[in-house]
């Protein structure tokens, strides 16, 4: 199926998100879309999928004009989409989510859950995307939810598959699997539109690259082009792809974690007896495959969930009984893994979200009254500094592109004095230009003497930032290493290939203390 977009334009009020975009997707090609945060990639794809109505322009399917008023029309035409923001019903099981809209029934509209689960199981083994069809989606970590989204799209057997940043939360292995899947689909004649910020992926699977900047197509490139060139095309300036940093000036331990154990609602121990120190002036990276207890560990450090055993000491003071408010006020900065859930209020404006955990400070309020001028000034400065692409500071967060939402969260957490910065996937969904900037800010924060903890499933990011790397597997820290060890060794630790007695961990931790 050949898909053409001609002069596709979309305006939100006075703001033009897509400006006369022409794009052709040939049958059986993997067409990559590159562009900064807010360039208009998701908007374009949402028009293609019938979720947004184009202001101008037309869509042609095999040369015939097509009118996609609803996603139903697009699905009927053979278009499938994995959305940047998950479109999953949290209280449904995986199988129910996959079957929704095209339910397996026993006739008379009676659901056949067994058959649906069977299909999920089959797809999940065929494509090596491990999911349990009977699990409730709300209990799954984001990485697994992403797999569910992909399975959902695969189940539809679409002729054109749109993948809007599917790799942002996947582990390196999963990304490799996904790229294999894409190649296999391409062989079957499926065309794929692939949106990502990771240039390595574009080069690995892309056939054609189109770059969008500020709503306009600025050019096409071949996947052989060097990364620096692609980055420059996207951002419009030269981008430094490696982080420049001095050796750390390591200070005293600021955050001491002693024997923290967390049992989840279902009674499974998800964090087992974890102990480590985060020291001032140093970046501690926590590596590990998604779902090995990192999420729960970080939440227990913040007091979002209370550890069932163990202590968290901030500068010698026990904060393990604190709630998140006390922890934040004690000087912990937090960039959550699931920004939509823990990071912002989507119906609030950018201006309000930028002071979401700061408004109690004297700078922004006097008694019960907010100092609106100060809040406005703050918003202006942050938007400028972090290059947040928004119509104005009063737009709701829901109207921002994914990467720009992330920047709002990051900007807010960097705007107060910190003792500890805990950042989970700090650059999730952020474009190369902004990654450069955020990484620079993290290193600056470190050099100011803050203890920084970075949780990332992305080894590149861990290597680029960390001065020390702790690897988590099955709720435990199975080793603490320095970033000069080879990737393979960390990969082994992440896969759980250790002797179970944390020998290496004890050595390095002992040496460090």
């Amino acid at each position: 199926m050949k898909l053409e977009m001609r002069g596709l334009t979309r305006r939100f009020g006075s703001f033009t998100a897509n400006d006369h975009i022409d794009l052709t997707i040939e049958p059986g090609e993997i067409h990559c879309l590159l562009g900064e945060n807010g360039a208009g990639k998701s908007t374009l794809m949402n028009m293609l999928y019938g979720l947004l109505e184009p202001t101008e322009g037309e869509i042609l399917v095999d040369g015939e004009p097509a009118d996609f008023d609803t996603p139903g029309d697009a699905i009927a035409a053979g278009i499938g989409m994995v959305h940047q923001h998950f479109m999953l019903v949290p209280v449904f099981t995986v199988a129910e989510n996959v079957m929704l809209g095209r339910e397996q029934t026993r006739g008379l509209g009676i659901l056949d859950r067994g058959k649906a689960a069977e299909l999920v199981r089959e797809l999940s083994t065929r494509y090596k995307l491990a999911v349990d069809p009977t699990a409730l989606v709300e209990n799954l970590p984001v990485g697994v939810q992403q797999r569910v989204e992909i399975i959902k799209a695969l189940a539809n057997e679409a002729k054109v598959l749109i993948l809007d940043e599917p790799t942002a939360v996947l582990t390196p292995q999963e990304i490799d699997e996904l790229m294999d899947i894409m190649r296999a689909l391409k062989k079957q004649g499926t065309s794929i539109v692939f949106i990502t910020h990771k240039l390595r992926e574009v080069k690995a699977v892309g056939d054609k690259i189109t770059v969008i900047r500020r709503g306009k197509v600025v050019g096409t490139a071949s996947p052989d082009a060097p990364e620096a060139e692609l980055a420059e095309m996207m951002v419009g300036r030269a981008v430094n792809l490696t982080v420049g940093k001095e050796p750390p000036k390591v200070g005293k331990p600021v955050l001491e974690v002693n024997g923290v154990t967390v049992v989840d609602d279902r009674g499974t121990t998800v964090v087992r007896d974890v102990s480590f120190d985060a020291r001032g002036g140093e970046v501690l990276g926590i590596a590990g495959v998604q779902g090995n207890g990192q999420t729960e560990l970080i939440k227990s450090l913040l007091g979002i969930i209370r550890p069932d055993a163990g202590k968290v000491l901030l500068e010698g003071q026990d904060i393990s009984r604190h709630g998140p408010k006390d922890s934040l006020e004690a000087g912990i900065g937090y960039i959550p893994e699931d920004r939509a859930h823990d990071g912002y209020v989507s119906s609030f404006s950018v201006r309000e979200n930028l002071v979401l955990d700061l408004y109690r400070r004297n700078d922004f309020s006097r008694g019960a009254a907010l100092k609106l001028d100060a809040i406005e000034k703050n918003a202006k400065a942050r938007i400028e500094e972090f290059d947040i692409r928004t119509e104005n500071m009063n737009s709701s967060l829901a109207s921002l592109s994914g990467g720009n939402q992330q920047k709002v969260v990051v900007a807010r957490e960097f705007s107060r004095p910190l003792k500890v910065l805990i950042a989970s996937q700090p650059t999730r969904g952020v474009d190369v230009g902004s990654i450069e900037f955020i990484h620079k800010r993290i290193i600056e924060e470190r050099d100011r003497g803050t203890a920084v903890i970075i949780v990332s499933t992305e080894l590149d990011e861990i290597y680029a930032l960390s001065d020390r790397i702790a690897v988590m597997y099955d709720g435990r820290i199975v080793g603490t290493v320095t970033p000069d060890i080879p990737r393979e060794q960390i990969g082994l630790l992440m896969a759980g290939a250790h002797d179970g007695h944390e020998t290496q961990a004890h050595e390095t931790q002992g040496g460090a203390a």
Binding site: T70, V91, L100, E103, T105, G109, I110, V263
Partner: protein, 435 residues
């Protein structure tokens, strides 16, 4: 019980195991509940001076059901014993889980109820003495409209439309059931009239909530006021002349239909299976709504638009159309519930016949956690309380109005999280607009 014993004994063999917090909370809840129950039961038992209490297994004295005597003191102390046993089990965290736990919990509730009755009915002194009667027939009757209304609420809210207007649907249903039955001189047409009226109010709810996106809470309150005003007004327009009036507001009522066999079960049989067709329709409705919501394609779609309409939209489900269907189907049940107040019981329509029970049905929706079976259980419980209120009003022990507040009190406690997590459908009350 043996399974629980082994399950809880496990920590001793695994010293590192840490007790889940939810388990601790459960224990605290149980201990507090049973401690209060035990304390009250002791009070009831101690307060009984003249232990002579009379009871009837039927609803009233008949040839078949003659009053019998009972030693109230004895029963009251038995209630103390049962709740004390439960308290001890909870205190040492050996209170059974699953079905056994439910059975034991219900048993404690039942004994508490009996202890309470002993206290209320003992010491009535000389002369006329009221006897304890079988509460089940009354409970079923009162619960019938509550259950139907709650099912309507569950359907709407599961689809993401808040329905405060159940009371309005009751009133309209009651009025038009009376009219339809009077006009046709037979009660079954009344059911049809009730259904049409219920669906009519549902359609108003749909138009304003789904098409014009009016705030649904405000809208619901307005619809109740509208239905109340409109039915009162129309009632006033019916001439008092008996020759004319009989065509409008003198409906025949639904006859009792005895289901042979089932109705002969002692104590509960007649209460459950010697009822009007409306009661049987209520039983069927509970099963139907539960089946529809959880076992069918339509139900899955309804629940998806109530939880995450955008996700539903992206898989090609028509969000507003699905919501319309659920709201209108809800109208059928609420209208039937309304019909109870005229053709299902007393006959003629009177202004505000439903007397606020639509709000109790709404409370049952919340207390039942938006699940048809939960809502039914809550509605039956509330029906039981309202019935008890009527029953003990014959004895001057306690202001019976106090019991009328129980449904609301129970709902507040439930919503406050005492019975576990109470969470409405995520998109409840949120209109879905596409950009």
């Amino acid at each position: 019980m043996s399974t629980t014993a082994t399950a809880t004994a496990a920590p001793e063999t695994q010293p590192t195991r840490i007790r889940e917090r939810s388990d601790v909370h459960r224990q605290i809840r149980l201990v507090v509940t049973f401690a209060i129950a035990t304390a009250l039961c002791i009070f009831f038992a101690l307060a009984v001076d003249d232990p002579n209490v009379r009871y009837i297994l039927g609803e009233r004295v008949t040839k078949e059901f003659q009053p019998k005597d009972l030693n109230g003191s004895w029963v009251a102390w038995l209630a103390v014993a049962v709740s004390a046993v439960a308290l001890v089990l909870a205190a040492v965290n050996r209170f059974p889980r699953g079905a056994a736990g439910v059975v034991l919990g219900v048993l404690v509730g039942l004994m508490f109820y009996l202890g309470f009755l002993m206290w209320v009915y003992a010491d009535q002194g000389e002369g006329f003495t009221a006897a304890i009667t079988n509460p089940i027939p009354g409970t079923i009757r009162i619960a019938t409209p509550l259950v139907l209304g709650a099912l309507a609420g569950v359907l709407c809210e599961r689809a993401g439309v808040i329905n405060i207007a159940i009371e309005g649907q009751f009133l309209a249903g009651a009025f038009f059931a009376a009219i339809a039955a009077s006009l046709a001189f037979q009660p079954y047409t009344g059911l049809l009239g009730g259904i049409l009226a219920g669906v009519g109010i549902a359609a108003l709810l749909g138009v304003f909530a789904l098409r014009y996106q009016v705030n649904q809470v405000v809208l619901g309150v307005v619809l109740v006021a509208l239905a109340s005003g409109l039915t009162s007004f129309l009632l006033g327009q019916i001439p008092g002349d008996p020759d004319v009036k009989q065509y409008f507001n003198e409906p025949p009522t639904l006859p009792q239909l005895r289901i042979p066999g089932l109705a002969d079960i002692p104590v509960v049989g007649a209460a459950l299976f010697d009822q009007t067709v409306l009661v049987y329709l209520m039983y069927l409705s509970v099963a139907l709504v539960t089946f529809l919501l959880y076992q069918t394609r339509w139900g899955l779609r309804v629940r998806s638009v109530g939880e995450h309409p955008k996700a539903a939209d992206t898989v090609g489900i028509k969000v507003n159309r699905t919501r319309w269907q659920a709201v209108l189907l809800g109208g059928v049940f609420a209208g039937l519930g309304g019909a109870y107040y005229t053709v299902g019981s007393t006959g003629a329509f009177d202004r505000d016949v439903s007397a606020g029970t639509g709000f109790i049905a709404l409370a049952a929706v919340i207390m039942g956690r938006w699940h048809p079976l939960g809502a039914t259980a809550a509605a039956v419980f509330f029906g039981f309380m309202l019935n008890l209120q009527t029953q003990i009003s014959f004895v001057d022990k306690l202001p019976s109005e106090l019991l009328g507040a129980v449904p609301y009190l129970a709902t507040i406690i439930a919503v406050a999280g005492f019975v576990g997590r109470v969470r409405p459908p995520a998109a409840d009350g949120e209109p879905y607009v596409k950009s």
